[in-house]
Symmetry: C2
Subunit: 393 residues, 2 copies
């Protein structure tokens, strides 16, 4: 096998560290770039182990601190900082593949720049497609660059599409765990605390994505991403609640066949699929499904009225233009405000809906317009949170 040079944007986060875990077991994977926001302790360890040529620390102060530490230990690696630094890592000359695992809108511009340099993209950053899907996919097509999804649902769909024609797809079926409150009544949801919401039934993740999972906004965002990744329309994407999270998603074809991808929850599987695509590398870490232990896989309708974030996602996708970016920005502020106990759980969708209502959508926006309205939505959301006090919006 030929060596593959990989740059990881966001190497100290959950997807980043798991990508390095995959690389650790294959000397043909060569890490050329790493980045972190502020976690220079972990980044330093990663530098020592993987010997990249360039690293970026978003925070300038922390970047300087890391430089000094490395100098003291006579470790030679270039340290850059800020968005420009992030773009430098994303466009590293000898990188073949860029793993975009940063969180937030910061991932959008470096991904665009990486595509322009002909890098293949393994994408874990939601905002890139939610906010900039039209631009990014158009660019990827123009440069003939594959966008390889890392998200387990989209990886499942991507796998179910192999050896098939996209025009023969009749439906994309995203599975959802349903989150920790899938059995709650409206009355119970009124009393949900931050602590309750941070307990995911099937796995541990960062707090933002855990809340998104509890509100079903994660599925709303995935519907938008799926539209772009698979060049389809909102009415061809369905969501079904599947508590066991064993079927990661499915594709239904026009001949009556449905293809599904199954496995235990392990992000390393979709990460490795994106890295090695179209091959499947032997993974000793991957636990094989024991169907007899599984016993049963269940399915049910999502509770759309109790979890309106899912339909807000569909609605933003249907409107298109800048609306998905606004949805995403409002959701980020709503989740942040919930985590800071400024709004209640049920106020999350209310806040987002208010911001979406206020926004006058721009169709076919430029990257700058997307960034502008992203910023507007954040400001407006914060203002609404402030106005609301703690009891209502």
């Amino acid at each position: 096998m030929v060596k593959k040079n990989i740059a990881i944007l966001g190497s100290t986060g959950s997807v980043g560290t798991q990508t390095l875990e995959v690389a650790r077991h294959d000397h043909n994977l060569n890490i050329v770039g790493l980045t972190t926001n502020t976690n220079i302790d972990l980044l330093e360890k990663q530098i020592i182990e993987f010997e990249p040529e360039l690293v970026c620390v978003m925070n300038e102060q922390r970047a300087l601190e890391l430089s000094q530490r490395l100098a003291e230990k006579s470790i030679h690696v270039e340290v850059v900082s800020g968005l420009e630094g992030l773009i430098e890592v994303a466009t590293l000359d000898n990188a073949h593949l860029v793993v975009t695992a940063v969180i937030g809108m910061i991932g959008l511009v470096p991904t665009v720049e990486a595509i322009k340099k002909g890098k293949h993209i393994a994408l874990a950053n939601k905002e890139t497609l939610v906010a900039g899907g039209d631009i990014v996919m158009k660019l990827a097509n123009a440069y003939n660059i594959p966008i390889l999804p890392i998200d387990s649902e989209h990886s499942a769909i991507f796998q179910c599409l192999q050896g098939n024609k996209r025009e023969e797809v009749s439906r994309y079926i995203l599975t959802a765990s349903g989150g920790p409150f899938r059995d709650f009544t409206y009355e119970q949801l009124q009393k949900v605390t931050v602590q309750d919401a941070l307990k995911h039934p099937n796995w541990e993740m960062g707090s933002k994505i855990t809340i998104d999972s509890a509100t079903l906004m994660n599925k709303g965002l995935e519907v938008i991403e799926g539209k772009h990744l698979f060049n389809t329309s909102y009415d061809k994407i369905d969501v079904v609640v599947h508590r066991e999270s064993i079927i990661h998603s499915m594709v239904e074809y026009r001949d009556g066949s449905t293809m599904a991808q199954l496995g235990y929850a392990d992000m390393k599987v979709p990460i490795a699929y994106a890295i090695y695509y179209p091959n499947r590398q032997k993974a000793n870490h991957a636990e094989k499904l024991d169907f007899c232990k599984l016993k049963s896989l269940t399915f049910e309708e999502p509770k759309r009225s109790l979890f309106p974030c899912l339909d807000l996602g569909y609605s933003a996708l249907k409107t298109g233009g800048t609306m998905p970016a606004v949805l995403n920005a409002a959701n980020e502020i709503a989740v942040e405000s919930f985590l800071n106990k400024k709004i209640s759980f049920l106020q999350i969708p209310k806040l987002i809906a208010k911001v979406m209502e206020k926004h006058t959508c721009i169709s076919e926006p430029t990257l700058d317009e997307i960034l502008y309205y992203d910023n507007w939505a954040r400001e407006y959301s914060r203002k609404k949170v402030k106005e609301s006090g703690t009891s209502h919006l």
Copy 2:
């Protein structure tokens, strides 16, 4: 789309009539040959509707009768008979695809001859691969002919392999309904009647295959077919009982992903997949899966000690050579004897095991040797049934 000329061996049976049902809805599918054992009433209707150029009636007397009927109605189609006639249909000059849907060993030689003429094969005849798998697959490889499985389990696996590499497969997982007696105790199995055994929980089929489904021999035979179709070994094929028969089978890959093909039980779906491969034709007949109605998919271990036919299948495959042909022949006589109330349900595996024990396996047999030992196994099985009286073997 280019016209596809199809010859159907066994057009009056279940798979045959469903193949014609698919052809009925697509004027690009052109039926050039049809065959039946004795059902000339249905064959006559099929001739009038599909206007083939050649038909075969295995029974010579019935063939003559059909010829006369057609002459009286001034319908011009050549009528042939017997194995030679069947081979004539299988090797029709302008046929692109031969659907082998006859029942029994009679399917083996025509399939071999069709491959030698470069015809693509859509295979529903178990015996072709169970008894002659080594010869047939070697020949198909030499002539670079695809063998397209029609059986829903093997079609599912074939679909799960698309876009993937066979050397990356870690396990083939055949699903089994478990048959009508999946919840029976040994005591209950002792009292099983022919009538009980002919009730399949999930669908209606011919009596032979329904009994095979009740004994789990159908899964034993499918394990052998799977070995040949997918060029693998017995220890890479697993069987899991899945009562709902929605997941038709699965392929597990070395990276930890498992791909599955799902759908309601409808033979027209795998038939159409084999006919249109690698495309998927829009099928208005195909009912879309309603996951919320499904509610739950279950899995459990097959009960190997209560249903020893499954392990007899593995054992014959492991031994190889003429043993699978002997297993198959003994099973046919055992099922026939059970249906004629000459042996009990639990005597079916006992009879087969006795015949297998008696057989001295020939490795790398010729086609003639396979046919010879097939015949030997039938004779010996009949003799054992006679000797046994009605109470024990």
